[in-house]
Structure formats: C-alpha cells, structure tokens
Symmetry: none
Subunit: 136 residues, 4 copies
DNA sequence: GTGGTCTAGACCACC
DNA sequence: GTGGTCTAGACCACG
C-alpha cells in the first residue's frame, strides 16, 4: 500500500487513512485476507503518531472493512465490500479530479499546464511506488 | 445558489462552504460581481452559526475568490486575479492532484484512464463555464 | 516576547497582535524557528479570549509569517518565503507607504526629510536584525 | 486638506479621518480658525456615507480639536493643540514609517526598492495635491 | 440591513 | 499538552 497524507488539508489524518484503505478495498487493490501494514510500521513510515493509525484501523474495523486479530495483525475482511465495477470507480475518481480542476481554475492554471502537471504527478507517484517495491 | 452540508463527513463545515463557493464560481453558477447570500441569511438556511459562515467568507476573501464590502455584502471577484507567484500556484495545485493520483492508484485506475479522465473533467468544467456565460 | 494591547485604540485586538509579531520577527526579536507562546498561555497573559489569539495566529499563518503545527505549537517561519507575486507585494507595501505619506503631509514634513527618515528607519531595522542574529 | 482612506485596513474610517485632522492641526497645516470641508462635500469627495464624516467631526469636537457652529461649518479651535515641535512631528511620522519598514521586510522588498517606492508615492501624492489646488 | 470583533464555553484531533 | 471548530449571544462600524 502507498498512502498519501496531507497535514494541511483540514481533514483529520486518520480519516484520510480510512478513506484510502476503503478505496483500495473497493477496487480490489487490497484483496480479501490480505494483511495491512502493522500499526507500528505504518506510523513510522508516515511520521504519524501510533494512536492516529490505531484510530484509523479501529474505525475501519467498526465499519466492517477489516478484521483485527490480536497478536497477528489486521486483515481485509471478505464480503460486505464487493469490488466496484470499473465505471463506478471512475466516477469516484472523477470527484477528486473535479476538485483539482476547480482549484486549477482559481489558481489560473491553463489546460496544458494542468494536464502536464497531472501526468508529472502520476508518474512521480508511480516512480516512488516502484522504488518502494524494489527496496523490499 | 444551493449549498449542502454534511455534518458527519469529518470535514469542517466552513471548508465545505469554501469548496462549494469555489466550485460554483469556477463553473459559472456564480458569475463575477454576483452577490453571495448574506451571512445571516445563509447561516439560517443552513442551520449553522453566523460565525461559521463568516469564517468561510473570510477564507474566500483571503483566497481572492470573493470581495467583501462591510455594510454591503460579499461579491464574486473576477477571475485572473490571483496574487500568487506561478510556482506557488502550481505547488498548491500539485497537492490537489496528488490527492487524486493516490485515489487513482487505490481505485486501480491506469495511467491512460487517469489522464483521459483529467482531460474530460477539465473540458467539462470549461464547457459549463462557457455555457453559463452565454446563457446570461 | 512581551506584547502590549490597547483596548481603546479602535484597532482590533487580533490585528494589534499580528502587527507586533510581524515587527518582532522583522527586528530579529523573534528568530526563525522560535516557538510563539501557546494560544492558551498568551490569551491568559493578555486577559483576552482564546479565540482572539487564535485568530491572530491564523492570520499570521495565512500571511506566511508563522507555521502552526496542530498539537505542537506555532513557530516563526524563515524569511524570504512570500508566495506573492512581486507586483502584488509592491502594491501592498505601497498602501502602507501611502499611509505614511499622508501623515507626512499632515505633519508638514518635507520631501527630503521624509525620504531621509525612510532611509534611517529602514537601516535601523536592518541593523537591529543583524545584531540580533550575531548575538544569538 | 488631502485625506487618504484605506477601507481594508481594519481601522474604522471615521477614526482615520480623526487621526488625520489631528495630525494636520498638530503640525500647523490646519491653522486656528481655518474651516474644515463641509460634511456633505467631504463625504462626496471620499465616497463615504455622510454619517461617517459626521461621526468623525463629532469625535473631533468632543476632543476639543474643532468647533462646530451650526449653519456655518466646522473650524479648528484655538489653544489646547499647540503646534508640535519639528522633532516631535518627525517622531510621530517615524512610527508610521517603521510600520511600512516592517511590512517591507515580510514582503521581501529590498532597500533600494523600498526607498524608490517611498519617493514615488510621495511625489504621486504631492502631484495629486497640486492638481487639486489648481483645479479649485 | 450589511459584515467585523469579541467573549464564554463546548468538543475534537493530534502529540 | 497543543491547535481547530462550532455555538450562542453581545456590541460596533457602515449604508
């Protein structure tokens, strides 16, 4: 998993985590039974307090997205979250992109600049992800 | 204008308002020079405290989206007035795009799909804005 | 740091705080990275409501003078970080200078005196800042 | 008299007027017995509500700076306000200039730029003043 | 009528 | 402990 946090967004950090895990589970990026990173590991990776990660996992468990097995870790639960169809996933993403588009307008970023930036940022994250995988 | 609030989203109410006004201005639903609802009126409509709406409007003013004239009201400012340096504007937009990129990964949307979607949504907003202008 | 408030000046308390913090940062009395007093502490010292101090700190953050980290505190930011375009910065400064010019006329200070005074005060501040840095 | 108002300064407009008249009287720019512009005239010149000017004059009268003679106008009162010595006036102005200098620092305006701007703004106001006099 | 400031006191997120 | 948000209600400045 590759998480991205924004500490200045005004959205609580633990909710950002919850949302991202749910999105990954909804798309099938996280498969049933797959383990999540441990609270300690993740909190260190993200430079975040352990309580914050713990709260996110607790929230996910109470929503039935994951299952916590004491001493073993947290795992994606079967059922409940059937993977979304592709157009449903695109629709979810479209909301996030619309948000960026609105900001592009107010920040006076032109079409070409906007699209180029989208490409750059996508590749930047993909690059970080690849490096993270090979470093394992 | 019609605003909708989600009190359980974990996102500050005043920020929800800020985003909705920005979206309305970007789409042409709110035209340059148009007055926003008064703070008192809107706070009553939304069953929210006056200070909360005031904080949203203050934030919009500091972002250059609206102009507020004490004793008269708040008005949508003309676009193309951002006082920020170009690199600062790009940096802010990059944060929003990164947010979308992270979700694209979690939702397993591939690069081409992501970029095509970005293009579509950008053009969709520009189109709506153009239609709103001519329909005036 | 020592702050002083005038409750009868007709100038909003939170703006008096903003100006004093800015002056302290510009003169080197507050050094880069130095923590400001906590909102609660300062509000008690000044016999002012917590929200008033919070508003001042929020304004300072939005002006790029300080950085606030929720749960940790507020810190003076390094200079040279204004995200504004140069013309926007000059325009803002011009407003302040105009204020001084109007007073120069009313106080019957001639052109040469005015300009000499501007030079003196600029150098005086730069000098204090330099001494504060070396005295560290 | 040449007044300068800043509607975004956070200082009440009527107080800005009061302060400027007091400064002019303190320097001798307004002589004892000299008439102030009428409320109606000044409010139109400054694009301000008549009540605002009236409030400023009322405040000045209550402070003993001016005298209102119903049906005739407002006049600078004798005594009470003996003209300040030159260095006292310079000191008052220095406070305003210091304010501008602090803002120059935070707005990253260098010494030369600052001094050039001070010169420009001084000459700009002097120019407006000259034009206003010849147009009479 | 408009927006702006301030208070008093509550709850939340995070360290 | 830190800062952030929200409410309820007061008073002020301006048109």
């Amino acid at each position: 998993m590759q998480f991205g946090l924004n500490f200045k967004s005004g959205i609580a950090v633990y909710l950002q985590l919850v949302e991202q895990v749910k999105a990954a589970a909804a798309s099938g990026a996280l498969q049933t039974g797959e383990p999540l990173p441990s609270i300690r590991t993740l909190s260190e990776d993200l430079r975040v307090n352990r309580n914050t990660v713990a709260k996110a996992y607790a929230e996910l468990e109470s929503q039935g997205v994951i299952e916590t097995i004491a001493g073993k870790g947290c795992f994606v639960r079967a059922g409940g979250t059937s993977p979304l169809r592709k157009d449903a996933r695109r629709k979810r993403l479209a909301e996030k992109i619309d948000d960026a588009v609105v900001h592009a307008h107010h920040l006076q970023i032109e079409r070409d600049d906007f699209l180029k930036l989208a490409e750059q940022r996508y590749d930047a994250l993909a690059g970080r992800r690849a490096r993270a995988l090979t470093a394992e």
